[in-house]
């Protein structure tokens, strides 16, 4: 990843975002920045606030605290409405419309509509244009919803669990289309997902939310490079002394083997085998240990945000 992108225009900035429902806080003091042109995975356990975060960005929800800006505009402004497309988790469509009518909806309501790319996505799945939405299978419906989001030609695509009901082949194919489109047009994508393995080949940016806050945010390569996976023989309980001055994200012992994901604060010394983690190991480590110190790399920080804390100066 070229360093030049770091200075890029932010596509999305969240400032101290908080969302309170009747049963409690879904999102609390959530701040991060997503530079334009990136494909960002939004990862977190169920109920972590991913959908809430995407809904606030899509102007479907009003945050209780804080604010979001999309390309410098508030959600709901005409400008950000035109530049943003949102695919909600339940992929709502008008059940009595045909596929062609659903695409016409996109054409009628979006000035920059791209009928051709929307039709191509539908055709690739052999979905008949005159079929009613209610007669389609879940996967076909998802395809139509994705075509509707793509045809808008957005600069920022917000996808909430877009692939959850697609089979692996279709998932792969749609992902390929998504990447090709995004690459061609420089679209920023913010996509929540549970399928960690998939992120590795798709995302170049990551945001982990857990317990309503941001645990990890930044460029994938950068995040990888600041983490080290250490393995060695287990010696007694607790964290070994020679790892104590590093930031420990997660440690586990299986049998006689000790494994830990650390953020090294200097050279790792001792009888340890060190390795670069893959993305899945990194994500799992953070997801399993919600108390790990959060890390927000400089490109993912909004103005006034202190390094690695996730707090914002009010």
């Amino acid at each position: 990843m070229s360093d030049g992108m770091y200075a890029g225009e932010p596509a999305l900035e969240a400032y101290g975002l908080g969302m309170r429902y009747r049963r409690g806080w879904a999102l609390r003091d959530c701040s991060f920045r997503l530079p334009a042109g990136r494909i960002c995975g939004l990862v977190g356990p169920n109920g972590a606030g991913k959908t809430t975060l995407l809904s606030i960005a899509a102007h479907v929800l009003q945050p209780t605290h804080g604010s979001v800006s999309l390309f410098g505009e508030a959600p709901g402004s005409a400008e950000s409405g035109r530049r943003t497309a949102f695919l909600a988790q339940e992929k709502p469509l008008f059940r009595r419309f045909t596929v062609a009518e659903t695409l016409r909806l996109g054409r009628e309501l979006n000035p920059g509509w791209d009928q051709r790319s929307a039709e191509d996505i539908i055709r690739a799945g052999n979905v008949p244009f005159d079929a009613k939405i209610s007669t389609l299978s879940g996967g076909q419906r998802t395809r139509v919803a994705i075509a509707l989001a793509f045809g808008k030609r957005p600069d920022l695509l917000l996808l909430d669990e877009p692939m959850s009901d697609l089979d692996p082949v279709v998932r792969h194919e749609i992902m390929g289309t998504l990447l090709a489109e995004a690459a061609e047009r420089g679209t920023t994508v913010l996509m929540s997902t549970h399928v960690l393995a998939e992120l590795e080949n798709v995302c170049d940016y990551l945001v982990i939310v857990s317990g309503g806050g941001v645990r990890l945010a930044g460029d994938v390569d950068e995040l990888m490079s600041v983490h080290t996976l250490v393995t060695g023989a287990k010696e007694g309980d607790g964290v070994p002394a020679d790892l104590a001055h590093h930031t420990l994200v997660e440690s586990r012992t299986s049998g006689r083997q000790f494994t830990a994901l650390i953020r090294p604060e200097g050279p790792v010394t001792g009888p340890w085998e060190t390795d670069a983690p893959n993305m899945e190991e990194l994500l799992l480590a953070y997801l399993r240990s919600p108390d790990a110190p959060p890390l927000i790399t400089p490109t993912a920080q909004v103005q006034g945000q202190a390094y690695g804390t996730g707090a914002v100066a009010a």
Binding site: G37, A58, G76, A88, P92, D120, G186
Partner: protein
Amino acid sequence: MSISTSGSTSTSTTTGSTSDGKNGTMSATMTETTTEATRRPRLSGMTWLVWRQHRAAFWTILAAAALSVAWIVYQRGQMTDFLDGYGYPAKSLDEAGNEFQQYVDAFSSVSMGLMAIPILLGVFLGAPLLSGDLETGTAKLVVAQSVSRSRWLATKLGLAALVVVVSTTALSAAFGWWWNPVKTEATVMDWTSDAAFNTTGPVPVALTLLSVFGGVAIGVVLRRTLMAMVVTFGFTVVLQLVWSYFFLSLGSSVTIHTNKGVTADNSFPSLPDNAYVIDQSYLTGSGDLVGWSTCAGAQSDAAGELCMKKADVVGWSVEYLPMSQMSGMQWFGASILFALTAGVAVFLFVWGRKRLV
């Protein structure tokens, strides 16, 4: 992984020759649509979406209204044929008896139907109008497009209001036209009854509009279609009850005094035709009013006379609403209902700004 941000405008090469055939059919369809467009005006943008989404309901309402208007026109033809043959208005209908009764019955059944319109449209058009989108999530789909949610709300309310106004205006005008030749016959319909007052002039339009907008607001707050329909049914029924209780006080009553006593045959003041008597009482010499049953308990005429004299009754005081006020009362009441409707619309826009979706 690297993302190219070069502004490549070349068309995608993945859609090669395989899709060409389909594109051919596609462009053929497009031409077809264009020729169709020249033949009739084509809806576009948000108007198209809202009309497409609710076209079944809109067409049903318009078609039902058109059929009802046709039925009313037919009924009026039947009635005027009878009246012409009978010699009305030169000959009073009092002697027509049972022959005319079937035409009177036609009025009561149609007016019953017209009075149900605010309830029907409130429940089946107003309540599901937005609650359906909120329940199924299609509201999220619409606001994710490039058009503002206020536009969406305005188009929904505007088209629904248009359909309501067109259909109820047509029905109200047709019904009023049917009633007009026999308007002065209290035996057909009393102008102060809700069968006449709520089905003619601007009243059915205003009542229906408020019922529908009220239903929309209930749907937006409850966000569940079925529950919204049930609550809207209650709302529209209560609205009709309150309105029926209240509409006669829209007029400014006229009071007439007499001073020719109360016992003589022609002592009762002559009121305009079809005047609605609100209250009648005896007027005393000092200008006070006493109940007209004051001396009803007298055993004989002489005793009654004495009783009247004792009470110093000099004449009648009658408070009434002349029929000439009907139109004014209808417009006054309708303007109150229209103002309430506008209030509901303002609430919907304020609520929609924050909570819609």
